[in-house]
Amino acid sequence: GQQVMQIPQYQHVQEGEDFTTYCNSSTTLSNIQWYKQRPGGHPVFLIQLVKSGEVKKQKRLTFQFGEAKKNSSLHITATQTTDVGTYFCAGPFHRYNFNKFYFGSGTKLNVKP
């Protein structure tokens, strides 16, 4: 079954501070995706990582895929109140079935102005 851990569960930061969430899988992944869910909303796609060691940037957001393709991270530089929400990693974490698309437990980010 699903064997993915996402940490931390919650993070409270002051506006302007940095934020990082980590996603760890027990199986090697073909790809990993990141989503953001605003309070009361639905998950919205941020990015997909496919290659070992891949690093992608979107303005203040930096995404990394581990060399072994078993872990990933999302780093936000100088958080803003618009970054508030829950960040999920997602992917085909099932060891034998790449069609099963699971989500991590999420990291809820709160930013104090």
């Binding site: 699903q2 085909p92 790449f98 069609n99 698309f101 437990s105």
Partner: protein, 115 residues
């Protein structure tokens, strides 16, 4: 394009009642998914489909059934509703080839309460 459309947005059921959550997408995506999200929690995969006529169980399929008779529609059936099925249900779709799943597009969710 409307994207992924879910109905109803809200529903209250009594224990033992049955209902169907509707989901339709107009993007010609081959993959469709149903997830449930309990308050303050992550998304759990209920069922998914890789194309018309093909469905498979996810992490938490008990108490639910699905069908995929067309590419566009992927209804989720709840039989004999129980309080444990109180949750927000999200339908999603994507286009994917091989092992690399495409971006998931989500509907706005259906909030179900079972009393």
């Amino acid at each position: 394009n409307a994207g992924v459309t879910q109905t109803p947005k809200f529903r209250i059921l009594k224990i033992g009642q049955s209902m169907t959550l509707q989901c339709t997408q107009d993007m010609n995506h081959n993959y469709m998914y149903w997830y449930r999200q309990d308050p303050g929690m992550g998304l759990k995969l209920i069922y998914y489909s890789v194309g018309a006529g093909i469905t498979d169980k996810g992490e938490v399929p008990n108490g639910y059934n699905v069908s995929r008779s067309t590419t566009e529609d992927f209804p989720l059936r709840l039989e004999l509703a129980a309080p444990s099925q109180t949750s927000v249900y999200f339908c999603a779709s994507s286009y994917a080839l091989g092992d690399n799943t495409g971006e998931l597009f989500f509907g706005e969710g259906s909030r179900l309460t079972v009393l």
